[in-house]
Amino acid sequence: MTLLQDEDLRFRRLSRKIGIFLSIAALGIVITLISIGVQQKLITPKSQVFFVTDSGREIVQGMAVKLSGFRIGKVKRLELTEQAAVKVTLEIQSEYMKWVRQDSKARLLKEGVIGDTVIEVAPGSEKSPQIVDSNQIAFEREVGMAQLVDQLYDDVRPLIADVRSVVQRTDGLLKRADSLLASLPSSQQHLDAVLSSAQRNLQNLEKTTATELPATVRRGREVIDSSKKVVDSLSRTWPISNNIDQPKAGVLPLDSYGNATPPPRAPQK
């Protein structure tokens, strides 16, 4: 019966060994949980700020809060106020609160065209004091795609109306141009007739100037020459000749004092 002893040496202090083993395992689990918490920033100190908006559309709990593209917190909760507005509380890691100042502004925007919706906090100016925990921050919504399309449509609608009226006027002008083009052949006939008449007149004028004009000019010159002789003769006749200076080739005068300077200075007494 010595072979079947009730107390095997390997089972001595078994409960103690199991206790140590379970303690180490529990410690490992605790360390792992703590390290995960630290890594996920679950146990870092946080501050809260809030904003009030007329609608909670597109804002959800747990939504990322970003500053300069970096995640600095999340949307902690949404509450409906007495005035039917929505109070949104943001939870921001305290280490980033130094950039959130009183003139900072939270904006709801989409990351890219089809990206997630986030709340972006714009850093405030350096002169502005840092925002205090649980205080309010300004908020605005970025204009969404649908709103943009609405605005664009409002802008484009008068233009479309203008284009339509221009097209209508062009139609009218084209109709009138058609009627003018239709009447062009008769105008061309009139023009041909006028040009033919002008050509005939020019030919007549050429004939006249070729024959009669030189004779007229010649006669005019003869008359002028005769008149000049009469006037010359008359101008040499007494007493008219006394009143007419006979032209004579004269020398240009040269003033002896022409370029003289002011009178000389008198001598000092």
């Binding site: 040499r236 004269g250 020398v251 240009l252 040269l254 003033d255 002896s256 004092y257 002011p262 000389p264």
Partner: protein
């Protein structure tokens, strides 16, 4: 009897109306070119004046008309001087001086113009030499430019400080200019007499002469010379210690401003500084 008297009257009138011989057409043409040149010269269009005189010269040369040749050459020289082309002017004057076909009066005038140019170039000796040649040719025939020549000699004497010679020449000039009815040169003679009197410290005589000159210059509308007369009068008045010095200077300044002559205005200002702030 009446018929005889009427007949005599008609005969007398017919004699009076006999026309002088008409001028040859070519000469008439040359004369027109000369007049065109003079008009252009008065307008200050030198090149047009030069072209017109050269055309006139060509015509006179073609008929060997010495008087016309001399006139045109002298006019060409005057235009060249106005254009600042002294070398060309000298050559033109040589053509007058060396051409025996040109009347002595024009050669005397050429010598006078050379003397004038020399004086302007600050060559007093050269000017004096050419002026003597001009007077030698001009005085025997009492040419129209005699008074101007004596005036120029008076200016030369004043430059040398010889007020006695300046006074004598200016008196001769005044007499010659009165004889030839040249009012502008007569005023110049009067002004030179006044300048000489001022140089001789004879303020009263100078002032009277400047006043007389002023009257003559106003009659011939010689604006620049009116300013010179007023400046002279101001100096003479200052010499006499009179109170109207500033009045003369202000009149001079006003006339200088009316013709936009900045240089003359500056001369007035300089005289004012000298006389008033002394």
């Amino acid at each position: 009897m009446k018929r005889v008297i009427y007949g005599l009257i008609v005969l007398w009138l017919t004699a009076c109306s006999s026309a002088p011989p008409p001028r040859p057409p070519l000469e008439d043409n040359a004369l027109q070119w000369t007049q065109r040149g003079q008009d252009a010269f008065r307008r200050g269009e030198w090149q047009e004046a030069l072209d017109a005189y050269q055309e006139g010269l060509r015509i006179y040369a073609s008929i060997e008309q010495g008087d016309g040749i001399g006139v045109e050459l002298l006019n060409i020289a005057t235009v060249q001087y106005a254009m600042g082309d002294i070398v060309a002017m000298d050559k033109t004057l040589d053509r007058v001086l060396n051409n025996v076909g040109v009347p002595a009066v024009h050669r005397a005038e050429a010598a006078y113009r050379r003397a004038y140019a020399k004086l302007n170039a600050a060559d007093a000796d050269g000017a004096a030499a050419w002026l003597e040649q001009a007077l030698q040719r001009c005085a025997p025939i009492d040419c129209a430019a005699l008074g101007a020549m004596y005036n120029l000699r008076a200016r030369l004497a004043l430059l040398r400080g010889d007020t006695v010679v300046a006074d004598t020449d200016a008196r001769r000039a005044a007499e010659a200019n009165r004889r030839h009815g040249d009012q502008i040169e007569e005023a110049n003679s009067q002004r030179l007499l006044a300048d000489a009197a001022l140089r001789s410290a004879n303020g009263a005589q100078a002032l009277a002469l400047y006043e007389q000159t002023l009257t003559l210059d106003k009659a011939t509308a010689q604006t620049r010379k009116i300013v010179l007369d007023l400046l002279g009068a101001a100096r003479a008045a200052a010499m006499l210690g009179r109170t109207d010095v500033v009045a003369y200077l202000e009149r001079a300044r006003s006339v200088a401003e009316s013709i936009d002559d900045a240089v003359l205005a500056q001369q007035v200002d300089a005289t004012r500084r000298e006389l008033v702030q002394k």
